[in-house]
Amino acid sequence: MITIALAKGRLAQKGLKRLTQANILFTEYDEQSRKLIFESDDKKARIVFVKAMDVPIYVANGIADVGIVGKDVLLENNEYVNELADLGFGACRLCVCGIKPLPTDRKPIIASKYPLVTQRFFNAHGIDVDIIKLEGSVELAPLLELSDAIVDIVESGLTLQENNLSIFTTITTSSARLIVNPRSYKTKIKAMTPIINAIMQGDNV
């Protein structure tokens, strides 16, 4: 059986839609359910719901063979997985945002859910920063003066606008990626191929 790791939300919905289009059906699946594991009707696959940040971990450790996850998460995670495709949905940007420019008379403080990406970005630009790792509502940090700026995902920019934050710079763009466990990809290639093809070739509806 092939295990597919998904994070609840839009990426999972789109992934499931593509599997359905390829007749890989999970009729047992119910969006409202608190169950975390659902088997396909033909019992050849199962989906497991995990936190987005944990998708590469489950895949890298071989617990899941396949996963759908944002590039932003892959950049933060550094896990050894094979990244087979840019699925073209879930597009967003990873940006440095704030209310006022970064201070120059002291070390700037940056809040982020992405401390590694943040560290790499500021290192590459020769700026020494202190990083505060936050788990959510990152936009609050500069408003309440916990940090001077944030590094976070920007989709429409509406949340930033409503909180009087602006984008200083874009670190990178991100979109949904199809990842596979490198070992599974070789040892279970025949069983994985229909699932990989379904996810890669489906429509973006």
């Binding site: 094979n82 495709a85 990626r177 070992r183 599974s184």
Partner: protein, 378 residues
């Protein structure tokens, strides 16, 4: 004061089955190596940092370093192949040497929750001037796996020269080679597409397809034939095909595949590479290959090939059954401990473990047999 220190990582109680299995595997596999004329060699557990880092194969962060009383920077053994190669570079005679070894490998991590790890590895290394030992080493790798009675393993063969030669034949710019090689290693298709987006369509098509060039050697050759590739590249695959055919004739039941997109982490590999995977473990069971370059770096002109097997990983999937032991609890009288220990010694044998127990409340659930010792019984 030491109470405040956290526990060092690595303390683990091994079940009797686990260590018996590991011992049985080491003993049995070494015996297999011996029949091919391999001498057992023990690599040092501490190596000079300069030696370990000279090949560039190991990241300095992955080594556990310290300064010895003479002021030299030393590392805990991180790769016995490098120590052995250094040893060979000091030998005046360059005749054939075949070594088998069991060694502990220590690694440090910066990105994982674990900080240090030590693993036990069993393997072989062959240093030779003339001849072709790829087949013998591959055959021994398969024999070790057969001895361990492992099922559902995939033996992957690759040629580390394939991707560099392919990139050269496609005239990929020098500055792009490291990132493109890394993307191919990770089978990162979006990155490959991005990196070669300005190259001719034919080049883009080959590089997008190359990450799928794995499977049975026949499948791979069919995939490759749809592109016009240089004879050098086809020769490398033919080399692997010849090897697999020679192995197939030795009645191996292993699932042997070829991966042309192999890019090994250890930069010292120079030709054939072999990796063995199982569905049951996330880490490869066996890893190895040709590493002529590393010995060339020491100034010697020799060929070298070898492999290492992670003993714990192999034991975890091995069907070998170590002999069953009976656990016997000898409930002893505190007033006469000597009598209890003497009696226990008469009972002990290669198949019986005797636990002398003075505690009336001891948990005896794991015991197969209980003897209550009273003077009247003796």
């Amino acid at each position: 004061m030491t109470q405040s220190k956290p526990l060092a990582q690595g303390m683990s109680i091994k079940s009797r089955d686990q260590y018996s299995k590991e011992d049985a595997l080491i003993y049995g596999i070494l015996k297999q190596f011996e029949t091919y004329g391999y001498d057992v060699i023990e690599p040092p557990s501490i190596e000079y940092y300069d030696v370990m880092s000279a090949s560039g194969a190991l990241a300095q962060q992955s080594m556990i370093k310290f300064i010895d009383p003479f002021g030299d920077i030393m590392v805990l053994q991180a790769d016995p192949t490098i120590s052995l190669t250094h040893y060979m570079s000091k030998q005046s005679s360059l005749s054939l040497k075949k070594f088998a070894m069991v060694s502990s490998i220590h690694k440090a991590y910066t990105m994982h929750s674990k900080r240090h790890e030590h693993t036990k590895q069993i393997g072989i290394e062959v240093f030779y001037d003339q001849g072709l030992y790829d087949l013998e080493v591959l055959e021994l790798a398969l024999k070790a796996l057969t001895y361990a009675q492992v099922n559902n393993v995939v033996v992957e063969l690759g040629h580390v020269g394939f991707i560099p030669s392919l990139l050269q034949s496609l005239n990929i710019s020098e500055s792009l080679l490291p990132s493109l090689s890394e993307a191919i290693k990770l089978k990162d298709l979006p990155a490959i597409q991005f990196l070669v987006s300005t190259y001719p369509q034919h080049t883009q098509d080959i590089l997008k397809d190359v990450i799928t060039w794995f499977g049975s050697v026949d499948e791979v050759i069919i995939k490759m034939k749809s592109f016009s590739l240089s004879q050098d590249l086809l020769n490398m695959v033919n080399e692997l095909e010849t090897l697999i055919k020679a192995i197939s004739s030795t009645d191996s039941l292993m699932n042997i595949i070829v991966d042309c997109s192999t890019v090994k982490t250890q930069t010292y590999y120079s030709g054939l590479t072999m990796t063995v995977y199982s569905d049951e473990t996330p880490e490869p069971i066996l890893s190895g290959g040709r590493y002529d370059h590393i010995i060339e770096q020491t100034g010697q002109r020799m060929s070298a090939i070898g492999f290492g097997i992670n003993v714990s990983t192999l034991a975890s999937i091995s069907s070998i059954q170590p002999p069953k032991l009976t656990n016997v609890a000898l409930i002893a009288d505190l007033k006469n401990p000597k009598l209890a220990f003497d009696y226990a010694n008469t009972l002990r044998s290669s198949t019986k473990r005797i636990h002398v127990i003075f505690d009336d409340n001891a948990d005896l659930n794991m015991m197969d047999e209980i003897i209550t010792m009273k003077e009247s019984n003796l």
